[in-house]
C-alpha cells in the first residue's frame, strides 16, 4: 500500500535535486527550471497530504502555487530577455553590475 510517506519521500528527493540544481547551474533559465522542480515537489507534498488528511485545502494551495509559478514564469522570463538584451548572456555570474 502506498502511504503518504512514499509521496513525501519522492517529494523530498525532488526538492533536494532542485536545490542542487539551483546552487550549481549557471544558466538562469535552468535555475528557473530547478526552482519549478522544487515548487513541484512542494506541490506533490501538498496534494499527498491533502489526500491523506482528506482535506481540500492543500490542493487549493497547489492551485495558488501554480498561479504564482505562472506569474513568476512570465515576469522571470521577461527579466531574462531584458538581461540578455543588455549583456548577451543569461549566466547568473554575469549578473554582477551592482557588485562593485
Amino acid at each position: 500500500m502506498i502511504s503518504v510517506y512514499h509521496y513525501m519521500g519522492v517529494a523530498g528527493i525532488l526538492f533536494a535535486m532542485g536545490t542542487y540544481g539551483v546552487l550549481t547551474r549557471r544558466n538562469a533559465i535552468v535555475i528557473f527550471m530547478c526552482v519549478e522542480l522544487m515548487l513541484n515537489s512542494v506541490n506533490l507534498t501538498f496534494i499527498s497530504l491533502s489526500a491523506h488528511l482528506q482535506n481540500m485545502d492543500g490542493q487549493i494551495f497547489v492551485f495558488f502555487i501554480m498561479a504564482v509559478a505562472a506569474a513568476e514564469a512570465a515576469v522571470g522570463l521577461a527579466l531574462m530577455i531584458t538581461f540578455y538584451r543588455n549583456r548577451a548572456s543569461i549566466d547568473v555570474d554575469d549578473m554582477n553590475m551592482l557588485k562593485w
Partner: protein, 167 residues
C-alpha cells in the same frame, strides 16, 4: 501492483529530475522537467486529484514550459554553459544532501496524523473532484483566488513592460 507502479513512476521522476539538474543543454533540461511534470500528474491521479493532474499538465507542461522553451529558443541558448568550480559543486551537493537528510529524518520521526477531513475518496469519486475544488475555492478561498487573479494581471503587465524594447 499499485506499489510497483508507484516505484516505476517514482524512478522515472527521479531520473527526469536528474536530467533537469545535470543536462548541459537547457532544452534537454526542459524536456526532463516536462517529463517530471507528467509523472507528477500521474501521482496526482493516483492521489485521486485528477483535476490537479490536468491542471498540472495544462499549466506547467502546456504553458510555463512552453514559454520557457520559447525563451530558450528565442535567445538561442543551445550552447553549454560554463562549468561551476568544484568547490561550489561540492558545497551545493552537501547542502542538498543535508536537505534530503532533513526530509528523511523528518519522515522517519514525524507522525502525520490520520484522516480527519470529510473529503473521502468515495466522495471524490461520486461528487467529482472538479466540483469539490470549485466549491472550496469559491467559498472558503474566494479572496485569495481574487488576489491570485490580480497577481496574474500584474505579472502580465510587468512582463509586457519588461520585455518591450522601448516603453
Amino acid at each position: 501492483m499499485e506499489i510497483i507502479f508507484f516505484y516505476l513512476v517514482a524512478f522515472v521522476v527521479v531520473v527526469s529530475g536528474l536530467l533537469v539538474i545535470l543536462c548541459k543543454s537547457p532544452i534537454n533540461c526542459a524536456l526532463g522537467l516536462v517529463n517530471t511534470f507528467f509523472c507528477l500528474a500521474i501521482f496526482y491521479v493516483m492521489l485521486h486529484a485528477p483535476f490537479m493532474a490536468a491542471i498540472q499538465i495544462m499549466v506547467y507542461a502546456g504553458a510555463i514550459m512552453v514559454l520557457i522553451l520559447f525563451v530558450i529558443m528565442l535567445l538561442n541558448l543551445g550552447t553549454a554553459e560554463r562549468k561551476r568550480y568544484t568547490q561550489g559543486i561540492v558545497w551545493s551537493a552537501v547542502a542538498s544532501l543535508m536537505v534530503l537528510a532533513n526530509v528523511i529524518f523528518f519522515l522517519k520521526r514525524g507522525r502525520v496524523t490520520g484522516a480527519e477531513g470529510d473529503i473521502t475518496t468515495f466522495m471524490v469519486e461520486s461528487v467529482g473532484h472538479t466540483e469539490l475544488i470549485g466549491r472550496t475555492m469559491f467559498t472558503e478561498f474566494i479572496l485569495p483566488f481574487e488576489i491570485a487573479s490580480i497577481l496574474l494581471l500584474v505579472a502580465i503587465v510587468g512582463a509586457v513592460v519588461l520585455a518591450k524594447k522601448e516603453v
